[in-house]
Symmetry: C2
Subunit: 127 residues, 2 copies
């Protein structure tokens, strides 16, 4: 994480060498991590379930972030019905491995955000 | 983190009850967490040092995020010279408590991002 010049990847786009920046390139926005939260802790699977989160994610952003997550192998989708086709989303092992990041946020919030709701104990296993 | 309606704060803006969303409201963008990284792990203090990060944070975003971090009591600033006045930035205890979040990202990156650089061992104390 020391100061170094970014390198160029094969596609010509610059990528930081920092492992934290690498994660943030993939999930470094609020909405993406809220989608991961819903898939990981709340068991949501369908597009409409994800769209119904209390934070009211805009549907165009939801669709975009799901595509990105799928492209980066953090989320997989599989059809649960045909005609019309509908997909169910789930975290891949790579996506599910973000759990400690989210749990660390839960801990921080419990300490520093007055009134933050404490999640059910089952979510906190493995902390 | 179950599905619940957001509540209204005194200012009329809606805030999620979810502890993860609470954190993301404060630091839920790539640039903010990179600033926290630089202050926490790399020991940067001055505006120009922060602006010189290898990820090339735009200076208008840097200035905006520092103001927000200060407003939320995650960062403190103190003058290190006068005429013209120049400020040094540092994490408050609340900001420094984000360390486990960033360390969890380092762990994830080490497992899932090919070529991610491993940080020096001193950064990994307390993991």
């Amino acid at each position: 994480m020391a100061k170094r010049q970014p390198r160029k990847t094969g596609g010509g786009c610059k990528r930081s060498l920092c492992p934290i920046a690498n994660v943030l390139d993939l999930v470094g926005d609020k909405w993406t991590l809220l989608i991961v939260r819903d898939l990981l802790f709340i068991g949501k699977r369908r597009y409409q379930e994800l769209a119904d989160s209390p934070e009211h994610i805009p549907t165009n952003i939801l669709a975009d972030r799901l595509k990105r997550l799928e492209k980066e192998d953090l989320v997989a989708k599989a059809p649960y019905q045909t005609n019309p086709v509908r997909y169910a989303y789930s975290l891949t092992p790579k996506g599910a491995d973000l759990k400690p990041v989210l749990l660390a946020m839960v801990t921080w919030s419990g300490k520093h955000v007055p009134g933050a709701r404490k999640p059910p104990a089952k979510f906190l296993k493995g902390m």
